[in-house]
């Protein structure tokens, strides 16, 4: 018994067990089971409104901040139920990068130092800022203007600043919600390269609308879809979850095949 538990602890970073999310009384996502393996990249794909962001927000309890949201089911992080974590502690260990780059309206340096400071970082701040910016492949571009506002950077640089900010507090998992959708192709490529490097140290879950991106960067892919409910709404569910290569070449479900080949609805 102990052995099995240890094994799950080392191999699975996050485990969703029958997750359902409600906004008010409407069921937005139903019965999701997922294992996110450690040090791998998992992509969430699927049409808009099928609940990818909703499921992603469950992993760091950002849904707690939405008064109407309710999450049923359990999520295990390192084998422990995230309901037992303090959200502040959980969010230090499970970081997040948003769809629209959202640096703080402060200096580049401050953007990175803030998270470290509030989480009680004991080391050398200058060194941490440099290390994080290097980790996000941004150091060379900003090393001479650390005191300048983060809002003065280009969109792609801002997003990498947000990634630097996320890795500065040394999380184990990084959740990315369509991190490249507001970026030009060159910045997108930079962020993708970055994800490859980050994989060595972090577990990454990325929501993307870009099929090529999912197939390029991810190890496993989860395909979500939405079905109409009797009440006239839409309800998201997980259609298929497998190795990325399987999802894109030989999926089990007809829906998945249609979606990844662009023949969808």
């Amino acid at each position: 018994m102990q052995d099995i538990r240890n094994q799950t602890m080392t191999d699975t970073a996050l485990k969703a067990e029958k997750i359902s999310v409600y906004y008010g009384s409407t069921l937005a996502v139903k019965d999701v089971f997922l294992d996110i393996p450690r040090n791998q990249i998992v992509a969430f794909i699927g049409p808009s409104g099928c609940g990818k962001s909703t499921v992603l927000r469950c992993f760091n309890r950002m849904n707690d901040l939405i008064p109407s949201a309710r999450v049923d089911g359990n999520i295990l992080f390192d084998g422990e139920n995230i309901k037992r974590f303090d959200p502040v502690e959980l969010r230090r260990r499970v970081g997040m990068v948003f769809q629209k780059p959202n640096p703080f309206p402060k200096s580049i340096y401050e953007n990175i130092a803030f998270g470290a400071r509030i989480n009680g970082y004991q080391g050398d701040m200058d060194e941490l800022v440099e290390r994080s910016l290097k980790g996000a492949a941004l150091w060379d571009e900003v090393k001479d203007k650390l005191k300048e506002s983060g809002l003065g950077l280009s969109g792609g640089q801002q997003q990498r600043l947000c990634i630097a900010r996320a890795i500065a507090i040394e999380p184990e998992v990084i959740l990315m919600d369509e991190p490249c959708s507001a970026l030009d192709p060159i910045s997108t490529l930079k962020v993708e390269e970055l994800m490859h490097d980050l994989k060595m140290q972090y577990t990454i879950v990325i929501v993307t609308h870009n099929m090529q991106q999912a197939s390029r960067v991810s190890d496993k892919t989860a395909f979500f879809n939405a079905q109409a409910t009797e009440a006239g709404g839409k309800m998201g569910y997980l259609v298929e979850y497998d190795e990325t290569q399987v999802i894109f070449s030989n999926p089990r479900e007809e829906y998945t095949r249609d979606y990844v080949s662009g023949r969808f609805g």
Partner: protein, 302 residues
């Protein structure tokens, strides 16, 4: 079908009647009307300034600043009123800013949406529209009578707290507006890094909202500096032979002094009333300049 479509597009009239000249005429009529509205308000202001400067500039001299009120207009001065207003503004700023901004932060960032917070909200909105004399009566009952032993009765503290009450709703409403204008993505960014509510508000939301908050506070203080009725209601009088030396000192204020002089029959008093108005306006301008300076400082650091 297609051919017809192309034909229509090529023709000058087609399915659209552009009526360009008519639209430009309307444009000009509207621009003229807006211009006229601006000119009217500017003219009224210029005329007001002109008459006041004409009446009052001649009697502004050193004596006017250093003398106490007097029965003889040529000897009368605004010293107690000037310092009274400075004291009042200090009390008002020191109390209304933290309380107003604090209440707004609570309502906007912390309070959950329930019947209590909604009740508070509606009441604050209504309070902003209550006539100032009512606040004066409230100040009379609470600060002068009930809390008299602490405030010293008819004192700078009572007056300042009364004016503070008067502008609190304005500050709260303006601050909430400013907080609401801060993009939610900033809050989410903070929470996602493991910040708690206080850290997000203090480090990110409030600094971003500060220019808007300060604008609201400036407007509110500008209203307070010109208020007369509530101060008269709590018993401030124009004839005082001393400047305040503590929070419990009796006081008078610029608008009370001006009001008193305007009410006299002699024309000379009307002239020094105009002088007083000029001084009050300069004080107001200075106050706004300082606040705008702070606001720009905050905007730069963003």
């Amino acid at each position: 079908m297609t051919a017809q479509g192309i034909e229509n597009k090529g023709a000058s009239s087609g399915n659209f009647k552009q009526n360009l000249s008519g639209r430009y005429n309307l444009d000009r009529v509207f621009a003229t009307a807006a211009w006229a509205a601006t000119i009217v308000s500017v003219l009224v202001l210029v005329w007001l300034l002109f008459t006041i400067l004409k009446d009052g500039l001649g009697t502004i001299n050193w004596n006017f600043f250093t003398a106490f009120p007097s029965r003889k207009p040529e000897q009368a001065g605004i010293k107690p009123a000037f310092f009274g207003t400075l004291w009042l503004m200090a009390v008002v700023a020191a109390t209304s800013f933290p309380i107003g901004v604090g209440a707004a932060i609570y309502l906007e960032e912390f309070a959950t949406d329930n019947w209590f917070s909604r009740l508070v909200e509606i009441n604050i909105g209504n309070l902003a529209g209550v006539p100032s004399i009512i606040y004066g009566l409230l100040g009379l009952a609470v600060f002068k009578r009930i809390m008299g032993p602490i405030t010293g009765g008819n004192s700078v503290l009572s007056g300042g707290l009364t004016l503070s009450l008067l502008i609190l709703p304005v500050i709260i409403v303006a601050t909430r507006e400013a907080l609401r204008a801060v993009p939610n993505s900033i809050r989410l960014a903070g929470f996602a890094l493991g910040a708690n509510k206080w850290q997000v508000v203090w480090n990110h939301v409030l600094p971003s909202a500060m220019p808007g908050v300060l604008t609201g506070v400036i407007l509110a203080l500008s209203r307070a500096i010109g208020e007369t009725a509530p101060l008269i209601a709590i018993g401030a009088v124009a004839f005082i032979r001393s400047t305040p030396s503590s929070l419990q000192s009796p006081f008078t204020a610029m608008p009370i002094q001006i009001y008193n002089w305007v009410g006299r029959p002699q024309a000379e008093f009307h002239q020094i009333a105009a002088s007083g108005i000029i001084v009050l306006m300069v004080m107001l301008l200075l106050m706004n300049t300082i606040a705008i300076y702070f606001r720009n400082r905050f905007q730069q650091t963003r």
